[in-house]
């Protein structure tokens, strides 16, 4: 991609972020999610304080990181399966509905530039949400021993998961001109990836190909503090496949009536 096209992609991504921030639903989604997570955080903190004397007496007892921070970030990770489709449903489907996709198609930034610019903007939104969520347990750092390494591992894993979910959402949004249908498609794909290996897990199989395709297989190690390249590679692969398919779809849209 040439420098000119790269800068156009950056301009598009910045513009999409701006469009997100000027719309009330975007603020509402962020505020609602953070309110829910804050409530969950306070409940966890309350439970931790109630158990603190017992935990202090036990050897190798789990700390604030395992009992408050990781469950909080795990909840965010689960919520993203529902949130991301709402965030991404308009990115291409909404443009088609408004007849404004022509602006991008005629701007010479290329099909991949359009897809990547939109994806970057959604990812930026989710990184803000992830950072604000991570700030809750980090606020306890002054009075508790936090495992910063483990927190960093979970943060990176969820950031990669966000990238993959955004790519799935952008792909779903490129398939239809109806944002609601795009959200439903993205949600169906997310849930499919989540429960794909449920049968295998019930049978006690944990290292088959079907396990590899499932999202939880690649998140669980991170929640235990293990950051494996194979897991990050999985998210990168899902992201690349979805963005490539979305690019092909945008190319096909150029030929649509």
């Amino acid at each position: 991609m040439s420098t000119g096209r790269l800068s156009a992609v950056a301009v598009l991504a910045g513009h999409e972020v701006r469009r997100l921030w000027v719309q009330p639903w975007s603020w509402g989604l962020l505020a609602g999610t953070l309110a829910l997570l804050s409530y969950f955080f306070l409940l966890s903190l309350d439970g931790f304080l109630a158990l603190s004397t017992k935990l202090a007496a036990a050897t190798d007892a789990p700390g604030v990181t395992d009992l408050i921070a990781v469950p909080l970030l795990r909840t965010l990770s689960n919520l993203q399966l529902l949130l991301v489709p709402l965030l991404t449903m308009r990115v291409i489907a909404g443009e088609r509905r408004q007849h404004s996709l022509t602006l991008l198609l005629s701007a010479g930034i290329g099909n991949s530039g359009i897809v990547v610019g939109k994806w970057l903007a959604c990812l930026g939104y989710l990184i803000v949400l992830l950072t604000l969520t991570a700030a809750m347990p980090l606020a306890l750092a002054g009075g508790a021993n936090l495992d910063f390494g483990k927190l960093a591992v979970v943060f990176v894993a969820i950031a990669f998961e966000s990238a993959a979910l955004c790519a799935i959402g952008v792909l779903a949004s490129s398939w239809t001109a109806q944002p609601v249908l795009a959200a439903a498609l993205a949600l169906a794909l997310n849930l499919l990836l989540t429960v794909l290996d449920a049968g295998a897990r019930l049978q006690g199989v944990s290292n088959s190909a079907i396990n590899y395709l499932a999202l939880p297989t690649h998140l669980e190690p991170a929640f235990r503090g293990v950051l494996a390249s194979v897991d990050l590679g999985y998210f990168a692969l899902v992201t690349m496949v979805c963005l490539t398919l979305a690019t092909q779809r945008v190319d096909a849209l150029r030929s649509a009536d």
Binding site: S2, G4, R5, S7, A8, V11, L12, H15, R18, R19, V22, Q23, Q98, H99, S100, L101, T102, L103, L104, L105, S106, A107, G108, I109, G110, R254, S255, D257
Partner: protein, 250 residues
């Protein structure tokens, strides 16, 4: 004696064809536009005008033939579209949730203008398209006429060599239509303009040359002076009705 080195046209559709949904919407179209010229593309609904303009703007790729901008193939050099072409489609591609200034600033930056270039281009187009009074209003709250002007402004921001306007006066009231024609006339000279329209009166007031399309084929091309007023109307009707009669006979 003919010029051994004729000037390279700003736009050359070199035997372009395009199919959509299995139907050949544009057939072997060969058309040229020189700098400073305003070309009116005429035709009844379904004649292939909008598809032709989408091909020129780089939104669609031709199945056969080439679209050449200053002699360079648009599809081998897609960045040409970014800098050399300004395009207003049939429905202005607007972002209703942004203000006029926010939207135009984005369009200018998308077309590669720098920070200082953006400020001066914005000022110029707000004045030229008479958008000063609504500059800070949300586009979604503007009337159709103002929205169309915002659409025109986005096509002019980067001072493109070629301006492509698909039914620029559609949905405008008579006063707004008149202003649109004045604007198009003011573009003549510095830019090459190609516009599609149903209104023959619009052609007379803005265009140097006309091209009549029917069923995706170029049926007639001439300077407007050679084909004025009622004569043009008769010619247009003859092409449309003859072709329809032939189509029914076939």
């Amino acid at each position: 004696m003919t010029d051994p080195h004729p000037p390279i046209p700003l736009l050359h559709l070199d035997h372009v064809s395009r199919q959509l949904a299995g139907r050949e919407v544009v057939r072997e179209l060969d058309l040229q536009l020189q700098r400073g010229e305003v070309l009116g593309l005429l035709g009844i609904n379904g004649a292939g005008k909008s598809t032709t303009l989408r091909l020129i703007a780089g939104v669609l790729a031709p199945n056969r033939g080439k679209v050449l901008i200053d002699g360079a193939d648009l599809y081998e050099n897609p960045t040409l579209a970014r800098t050399r072409i300004g395009y207003l489609p049939e429905r202005a591609p607007l972002h209703a949730e942004l203000t006029v200034v926010e939207y135009l600033r984005f369009c200018a930056r998308l077309r590669g203008l720098g920070r200082t270039g953006v400020a001066s281009a914005l000022q110029r187009e707000l004045e030229r398209c008479d958008l000063g009074e609504v500059r800070n209003r949300l586009i979604g709250n503007l009337s159709k006429g103002f929205q169309q002007r915002v659409g025109i402004a986005q096509a002019l921001l980067h001072e493109p060599a070629l301006i492509v306007l698909d039914e620029p006066a559609s949905g405008l009231d008579p006063v707004q239509s008149l202003r649109m024609r004045e604007l198009i006339r003011s573009l003549r000279g510095a830019h090459g303009v190609i516009l599609s329209t149903h209104q023959l009166s619009e052609v007379g007031s803005c265009c140097d040359r006309i091209a009549i399309l029917h069923r995706g084929e170029l049926r007639h091309s001439a300077t407007y002076a050679a084909q004025e007023g009622a004569q043009l109307e008769q010619l247009f009707m003859r092409i449309a009705t003859d072709a329809d009669a032939n189509g029914q006979a076939a």
